[in-house]
Structures are given as C-alpha cells and as structure tokens.
C-alpha cells in the first residue's frame, strides 16, 4: 500500500478485491466510450477525407441539380448522375477568363466494381487534393494518344493490374457486365500513387475511349454516323466534333480565388444551358449539416451509453456500501476523518471511470489499427491518425469527471454513515 497516499492505496486494494465486478463495470464504461470515440473518429476521418479530396478545386459544375447531389455523384461517386451537360458548355467555361485549369468528368460506368472516370490528361496535371498536393504516378504515365487507362492505387492493388496490361471495359455500373467487348481493350498506361481519397478507387480513361465503349456496346445510343470509330485519345473525332456530346460534370481551378463567386454566378445564370456551379467547401458544409443529424443521433446514443455505464458503476458501488460500513468504522478507528472516507469512495469511482475510459481509448486504438486498411479499401476513407490524441484525452477527462460526479452520491452516503456509526460496527 502506498505510504504517501493512503486513500489511493486503499481504493486500489479495495477495487482489486472486487475485481470481477470492477472489471465488468470498467468494461461497460470502456465499450460505451469506444462507441463515442468510434463515431467521432469516423465522423472526423470522413470529413477530413472528403474535404481533402476536393480541397484543390474552386468550382464544381454540373447540370442543374442540388449542390450536395452534384458533389456526391460527381466527386465521391455516391449515387448516379441524372443528366449530363453539353461539351459546348464545358468548352465555353473552360476557356473563360481567369480559369487556370479545367477537368471534364464523364461518369456512370464501372470496371469490376470500380468507377470508370472518363477525363483527360488534365486530370493528372491539374487535380489537387489534400490542400495543394498533386497526383503522382506510382508507375507509368498519363493517357497519351489512343485508348488508355490509368488506375487509382486501390483499384490497381485490389485488381492486381500493372502498367502494360490490357483491360476490357464494359458499359454499365455492375461489377461484372453482361456485355464485354473485345473490340475495346485498353492498355494500362499508368498507376497513381495512393492519395487516401476517392481518387484511389477509380479507373481513369480518356473521354473518347469511354465514348467508343458506349457507342459500340449500345448501338441504339444515337451515335452520329461515323463516330463509332472514335476511339482515339484525341478529343477531335473524325466527324470534326471536338469531343464527346456530353459529360457528367467538370472541375474548375481559377487563377484567383477572388473570381470564384463571380464565375459561379455566371455559370448558374448561363442562358444556353441550365447549369449548377458549386464551391465544394460550401457544398460539403451543406452535406455535413444533413449527415450531421444522423451523426449527432449516433453520438447521443453513445453519450447515453456512457451514462448507462457510469450508472452501472454507481449501482455497483452503492450495493457494497452497507457491507462496507464495518470497513469505514475500522478506518475511523485508526484516525481516518469522515472527509477521507468520502475521498476513498470518490477515488474508487474516479479510478473505475478513468480506467474504463482509458480501456475504451485503448480498444479504439487497437480497432482502428486493425481496421484502418479495410476501411480505406472499402470506403476510401483514410483514418489519418490511429494513435490517441487530445480529443481522446478530453473524453477520458470528461468521463472521469462524470464518474466522480456520480461517485459523489455513494461517497456522501458513506460520509454520513461514518459520521453516524463512528467506530461502532453495525452489521
């Protein structure tokens, strides 16, 4: 027993003597803390990951739709585009003054479970994520001329493809297609380095390649005559049209961010075609405010679970108080003050709550470390930091304080008992 802190030593010994009950109580607190921390961690990771994905883009433009919807399907590939916008509109705004770069996106297909993104080499040159980080090639390079494909890091790893291999694209969103056409094999020209964003989970092909796949797979696609052979990486088709008829959306980077609002208004008011331009950060805020309701509900459940765990601890302590009156009388007889009796029970409650909370943090850390990789491969969400941080410390402190607050009840009861009983041992 500790010589300097008799109360702490007694509390530890007392808890150790009731280790089964203490362990169960601590586990209840730990699991509830794990729930709260897990929800918080995934919320934060999802937000960081989403924000990182689109952080370098000034404007996201699509057909007339809601900003959140556009952001979800065009950037995060959640849901499907309902309609497209014309190539002419893209060209119009890509050439607008103040536009530094533009990336067209054509979505709606998949290759073995991964989204196929029709775009141009501009994607690899200009796309920024995680602030100002550029995409880098782990192997190979961009499309160049002709049918080509560039794989995101996760797609390449999972599918086991390497640069130089040929893949066969199909039309549609299914994991396996009912229509596969040997006539449109595309050679993999590059594999991107991991980014920890949704960019890892895609197969990139030139717009023209995608067009060709569509047109040959679905003859009734209303392809203009002569356009069926447009399989060149060059956007100028043989029919003289400078690109596909339609794309899903496009990203714009401006030379100066001051221009963003002005250009956004111009796009939204564009007379030739109803378009929607959104500032990604603004749409994200809107998205989180929608998702936040569910998150907060989940968090509230977690907080209630923590309270339940702590109340369980309270019940466990209260249940032992009567049998411990003898113990209190003994402590009084050797000189313990009633205040020290109070402190003893507070210490026990605090220790149990703190140990439970710390066990919860430990469980969270272990769980994140174990699930980090599957989470990223399945959802594209990168759990940046596995190790416990300041937020975890705050949760431990708050749970401990809450445990102490609840522990004041049995402590007060024991204090009053010890005043009333004195050294008289009541059984």
């Amino acid at each position: 027993m500790n010589r300097r802190f008799p109360i702490a030593g007694l509390a530890l010994a007392s808890i150790a003597s009731r280790r089964t009950s203490a362990l169960l109580t601590g586990c209840a607190v730990a699991l509830s803390v794990l729930l709260v921390l897990g929800v918080q961690e995934m919320r934060q990771s999802a937000r960081d990951s989403f924000a990182s994905t689109i952080s370098g883009t000034d404007l996201l433009v699509g057909p007339r739709t809601s900003g959140v919807n556009l952001l979800l399907y065009a950037v995060f590939r959640i849901g499907q585009p309902t309609n497209n916008l014309s190539w002419q509109s893209y060209q119009h705004f890509a050439a607008a003054p103040g536009v530094a770069w533009s990336i067209p996106l054509s979505l709606g297909d998949s290759y073995r479970g991964y989204s196929v993104v029709g775009t141009t080499d501009a994607y690899f040159r200009s796309f920024r994520y995680g602030g100002q980080r550029r995409l880098e090639f782990a192997a190979g390079q961009g499309f160049g001329d002709g049918p080509a494909a560039v794989l995101g890091a996760a797609a390449a790893e999972t599918l086991g493809h390497r640069v130089g291999e040929e893949i066969i694209l199909s039309h549609g969103l299914g994991g396996t297609s009912f229509l596969e056409h040997d006539s449109h094999p595309v050679r993999i020209t590059g594999v991107l380095a991991p980014t920890g964003t949704v960019a890892d989970r895609a197969v990139y092909v030139p717009l023209a390649t995608l067009e060709a796949v569509h047109e040959s797979a679905v003859p009734s696609f209303a392809a203009p005559p002569g356009d069926a052979a447009a399989s060149s990486g060059d956007l100028s088709g043989p029919n003289g049209r400078s690109g596909p008829a339609e794309i899903t959306a496009f990203l714009l980077g401006l030379e100066s961010r001051i221009e963003v609002l002005r250009l956004q208004r111009r796009i939204n008011e564009y007379a030739a075609e109803p378009l929607t331009a959104v500032i990604p950060a603004v749409a994200l805020v809107e998205l989180w405010s929608v998702v936040g309701v569910a998150e907060n509900a989940l968090l509230a459940v977690g907080v209630l679970a923590v309270l339940t765990g702590l109340v369980g601890m309270l019940v466990a302590i209260l249940g032992t108080l009567n049998e411990r009156r003898r113990e209190m009388a003994i402590l009084r007889s050797v000189g313990a003050r009633p205040a020290q009796i109070f402190l003893l029970l507070m210490t026990e409650a605090g220790l149990l709550a703190a140990a439970g909370a710390m066990l919860g943090v430990l469980l969270k850390t272990l769980l994140l470390a174990a699930l980090r990789s599957p989470i990223q491969t399945r959802t594209g969400i990168l759990v940046e930091n596995v190790l416990p941080g300041a937020a975890d410390a705050i949760v431990v402190i708050v749970v401990t304080i809450a445990g102490l607050a609840l522990g004041a009840l049995p402590a007060w009861q024991a204090y009053r008992n010890s005043l009333a009983d004195g050294m008289t041992i009541r059984l």
Partner: protein, 237 residues
C-alpha cells in the same frame, strides 16, 4: 475510589470530569462525575450490553462529544477539540480493538497491521524508531502475539482468534499511549480468551500503554489491575 500510590504520583492518562452524554436533555444516557486512569494502568469496565459501554468508548475515542463535562486524554482535552483534531488525536495516540471483524478484507495481514501508520505520521515514526522499520515493527508484534511469518497472506484465511491478534498488533503498532478494546474476546472460546488477554496485557505493559477494555464477562477480571462496573461509574466511582 482508592487510587494506588504509584498512580497518584503521575498525572492520569485518562481523566473524566462531570461527563454527561445523552440523546435528549434531561435524561442522560451516561453520567460520569469522575474517572481517572493512571499511565500503564489496566482498567476493565464491566457491564451488560446496553449499559452504554460502547458509547463511553466512542466518547473516549473522540468519535462522540459529551453534552457536558470534559474528557482529558494525555495532555489534551479531547472533548474540546475540533472533529478533525479528534480524528488526528485518535490516530496518533489510540489503538482500538473491536469485538469482531477488525480487519479490512482486501488488505494483507501486514497492511492491516500498518494501517495506523498510514493515517498517523507519529505512529509510523515511532514504529521506525523502535524497530528500524514499520514492517519490522509489525513483524515483531505479530511474532510476539503468536503469529510469526506469512504477513503477506490474506486475512480471510485467519481464524477469529488469529484475526483478533492481528487487530491487537494493529492497535499496538507505533506505541500509542492508550489501547481501547471493545469486548475483544467475546467471539473467542474460553481457552483462547485468557490466552489472548494475557498476550494483549503483556504487550501493553511492554509498550507502556494504558489499556481500557469494556466487557460483560467476569471471568477475566484477574488480568486487570482495576475493574469498574458500568453502574458504579454513574454517580461517582
């Protein structure tokens, strides 16, 4: 009261004057005009249960305070001290043995014996001064009380007689001036009673402690140098 000449030469370790204690005014549960116990004395207060013996011990230990009158222990008028000071005084100068269940079940034998040293620095210092270390003091007391070895073991395996001896070691560690025992032998069988009291008595003599014990038993009177019936305390002893 016929004080022995030796006791008259030194001031009493315990002195009660005009003590009144009771739940309601006008009817006192306890009314003790005068009681003096000399240093090193062994006093048995005898009386049936319900006669206020335990109340008297709680008053002596400073758990309760009298409605009127004064209790003087050593140089302190304990009845006039604050609650915290009384707790402190008890920890430093008193050893207490209960009837039963004296030990904390979650502490080892050694830690139970050392408990007073945790709450009183003076007791810890005196234990170190006499035996070199607190553990050595505990070991010596346990050995003298017939419980050598196995100090790290749990108290749950001890017999009641052994538990009472551990309690005696705890009451005596750090050489408190006064040892208070509340029916410490009533749970023991006939043979163990005498043996336990003999050990307790010897240890109190060795430590120079004054022993005040309450009991309803008559068979133990020969071991004490004074026996006062509870009834005789009221209205003058």
């Amino acid at each position: 009261m016929a004080d022995l000449p030796a006791e008259m030469r030194t001031p009493p370790v315990l002195a009660i004057r005009d003590l009144e204690y009771g739940w309601t005014a006008g009817r006192s549960l306890l009314d003790i005009p005068r009681l003096d116990v000399a240093a090193g004395g062994k006093l048995l207060i005898r009386g049936p249960s319900g006669s206020g013996k335990s109340t008297l011990l709680n008053l002596l230990a400073g758990i309760l305070t009298p409605r009127a009158g004064a209790i003087r222990l050593l140089d302190s008028e304990i009845s006039a001290l604050s609650a915290t000071a009384r707790d402190r005084f008890r920890g430093e100068h008193l050893g207490v043995i209960f009837q039963l269940f004296n030990l904390l079940p979650y502490l080892s034998i050694l830690d139970n014996v050392l408990l007073p040293c945790r709450f009183s620095r003076r007791r810890a210092e005196r234990a170190r001064a006499t035996d070199g270390s607190e553990d050595a003091a505990a070991a010596r007391l346990l050995a003298e009380l017939g419980l050598p070895g196995a100090m790290d073991g749990p108290v749950s395996r001890l017999s009641i007689g052994q538990q009472q001896r551990v309690a005696a070691a705890r009451a005596l560690i750090g050489a408190p001036e006064i040892v208070i025992a509340d029916e410490p032998t009533s749970a023991l069988d006939e043979d163990s009673r005498a043996a336990f009291l003999q050990l307790l008595s010897t240890e109190c003599e060795r430590a120079g402690a004054t022993l005040v014990m309450v009991s309803h038993e008559r068979s133990l009177e020969s071991l004490f140098d004074r026996v006062v019936p509870m009834s005789a305390l009221s209205g003058g002893n």
